[in-house]
Symmetry: C2
C-alpha cells in the first residue's frame, strides 16, 4: 500500500512536491488543498483531487502525511500547529531565528493529537543543518562556514521589484570564490558579510525610469544590499524571460577543524549543492521526510521533530538489510 | 558525570581515539587494553590505566563504551560479537562485502546481553555511507560516484613492501580530476576503474635491487595495480621519512540526479573530506558515535546499529534546544 500524501498550497513548492511523488513508487498524491477556487487550479496528477482548504479535515483518515507548502512569514506559523491536530505534517519553515518558538507551538498539538510533525525540512534549514551538526560533532574544535549560491534569492528580487521605476527583477547571490578557497586551504579566515557573498541584479525598467537613480537605490538598500558588493544590469523584459526565468540555487557548508594530541592535524569537511530548481530539490527532501514521518507515526513516535531527530534509514524506501548491503 | 571510554588495541586508531577523547569534555578515557605487555605500552593520558586484554571483563561495570580499534581482517569479526556481551561497543569494520554477516553476528550477542553495538563507523563506511543514503533518498533518480584520495592506502603500501628488493614504500590513491569534473558537470559518465583513480608509489629499494624489475612487478600486480595507471618513484629512505610519513586521506561522494515532471532539472550533491590524518579523523567519528551508543543504551535501544540507524542529534553533546537554536 502506498503512503497517501496531501499537499496544502499549490505554488512552486507544491508543484515540486507533486513531481517528487511521481519519482517515489511507494507514494501517491491523493489531494491538493488550495485557498483558490479549485476549478481554477489545474494539477498534473490525473488521479488526485483539488479541494478547497476548508474541506481539509474531511480528509483526515484518507491522508497519511500532509505536506505544508506555504510561506514561513505568515502561513506556516499558523498552519503547522493547526493541521498537526489532524495529520502527520511536514513543513519547510525557514525563519531560523523563530524555529525554537515554532517547534514549541507544533510539538504541543502534534503530541496531544498523536501525530508526527517534521518542521524546517529542505536544504537550509535541512541538509545544511545536518552537515553543520555532523561536522561539529566530529570535529569538535573548528570553525563553520556556510556560503549560499550561486542562486536566485526570492526576497532580494522582491525587494528590487518594490522600487519605483522597476518593472521586474531577478537577484543572484554569489559566493566569493577567494573566500571559499581560503576556507578550503585551512586558513580559518574571519569573513565579513561583504567578503563572503556578492549580489548581482538583473533589472527591467519601466518606460522613462531613471536608471542611475534605481541603481543607487538598490545598492544603498539597508539589510538587503548595503553591506554587499552589488552589480546592477539593466536588461529588456525579453532577456529577463529568456535567460533568468529559472530558480537555481545551491551553496556550501564547510567545517574546518583540528585533531591530535597537540592539535597538529587539520581536516576539512565540505558539503555542497548545485541545484537547477530550488523548489524541486526542497520538495524532494520534503518527500523523503514524509516517508520518515509515516514510519515514526506507525511506531508511535509522536510530536514535533526536526532533521536532527530522524534516523537516516527512515528516509529511504530500502529495508535495513538492503541499505547495509548496498549503501554502507 | 563523564562517559567512561575504554580502548581495545593501541595502534594508530587507538591513539587517535585517545586524542579525540581529550577534545570532548563529556568523555573520559578509563583504560586501554592491549595484547602486548602493558608495561611496554606508554599512553598519553595520565589518568588512564593500561591493562592486558585478558582482564577486560573485570572492567565491565567501569566502562560505558568500549572502542574496538583492531583490524577488519581478523580482529573485529571475532572481537565485536565477543565484547558486545560485556560492553556497549563501537567498531570501524570496513570490509564492505562482509558487513551483513558481521551485523548478524554482532546483533545477536548485543541484543541478548542488552548492549548497543555500532559497527562500521568511520568515513567509508561511515560518513560516506550516510551521504550515499541521503543522496539516494532525496534524488531517487540519479547516479552515485565515490572517489577516494588523495591519500595513503595502507593495503597498497603493504603490497609493494612484500616485493623482493623493496625496503619500504608508500602508495597514494589519487582521484582523476577530469573524471570528477565530468561528474560535477552533470555528464553522468560511465567510468572504468582506470578512469577514476591513479596510483602513485614512492619506493625505497634494498641495496642492489633491480629498479626496472620492481617497477614492472608493481605495475602488473593483479587487483592492486594492474587496472590502474601507476607511477613509481624511487627515493631514498631519508626522503620517504621526511616527505611521506603522514597518513593523509580523503575523497568525494557525489549524487547526480534529476527532478521535474519531465526530469528536466539537474542537481548535484557533493560531500568531500580532506584529512591530514586518516586514523585521527576516523577516531573522531568513533567518539561521536560512542556518545550516541551511550545514549541509546540508556534508553534501552539495544542491538547492533549502523550510522543509518542513529538520529544525528545523538552524536552531539548539545541538547535538542541548543541544536535547534544554533545549528538548524
Amino acid at each position: 500500500m502506498s503512503i497517501r500524501i496531501g499537499i496544502l498550497g499549490y505554488g512552486n513548492l507544491g508543484r515540486g512536491v507533486e513531481c517528487a511523488i511521481r519519482q517515489n513508487d511507494d507514494m501517491e498524491l491523493v489531494a491538493v488543498f488550495t485557498r483558490r477556487d479549485p476549478s481554477q487550479v489545474s494539477i498534473l496528477t490525473d488521479s488526485a483531487t483539488v479541494c478547497k482548504v476548508d474541506e481539509i479535515t474531511d480528509w483526515k483518515d484518507k491522508i497519511d502525511v500532509m505536506i505544508l507548502c506555504g510561506g514561513s512569514a505568515t502561513d506556516l506559523p499558523e498552519q503547522t500547529p493547526k493541521y498537526a491536530q489532524y495529520f502527520n505534517v511536514i513543513d519547510s519553515f525557514d525563519t531560523h531565528a523563530r524555529i525554537p518558538e515554532h517547534f514549541a507551538d507544533v510539538d504541543k498539538t502534534a503530541a496531544d493529537s498523536k501525530h508526527v510533525a517534521v518542521i524546517s525540512v529542505g536544504w537550509d534549514p535541512g541538509m545544511f543543518s545536518l552537515n553543520r551538526l555532523y561536522g561539529n560533532a566530529i570535529l569538535t574544535e573548528g570553525k563553520d562556514y556556510t556560503f549560499w549560491g550561486k542562486g536566485v534569492s526570492q526576497g532580494h528580487s522582491d525587494a528590487i521589484r518594490r522600487i519605483d521605476g522597476v518593472k521586474d527583477a531577478k537577484q543572484y547571490t554569489i559566493p566569493v570564490e577567494s573566500a571559499l578557497e581560503a576556507v578550503r586551504a585551512g586558513e580559518n579566515p574571519e569573513l565579513t558579510t561583504r567578503q563572503k557573498h556578492t549580489r548581482e541584479c538583473f533589472v527591467v525598467l519601466e518606460d522613462g525610469a531613471d536608471a542611475a537613480k534605481v541603481e543607487q537605490e538598490i545598492k544603498t538598500m539597508p539589510n538587503y544590499f548595503a553591506d554587499y558588493d552589488t552589480t546592477v544590469h539593466f536588461i529588456s523584459e525579453e532577456e529577463l524571460k529568456k535567460n533568468h526565468s529559472g530558480i537555481p540555487h545551491g551553496g556550501f557548508v564547510l567545517r574546518s577543524g583540528v585533531t591530535g594530541w597537540n592539535k597538529e592535524n587539520k581536516h576539512l569537511i565540505e558539503y555542497s549543492l548545485k541545484l537547477d530548481s530550488n523548489p524541486e530539490f526542497t520538495s524532494s527532501v520534503l518527500i523523503a521526510y514524509a516517508r520518515a514521518a509515516y514510519r515514526m507515526a506507525e511506531q508511535g513516535q509522536f510530536g514535533c521533530k526536526t532533521v536532527f531527530d530522524i534516523p537516516p534509514a527512515y528516509l529511504s524506501s530500502m529495508s535495513g538489510e538492503e541499505l547495509r548491503a548496498k549503501m554502507l
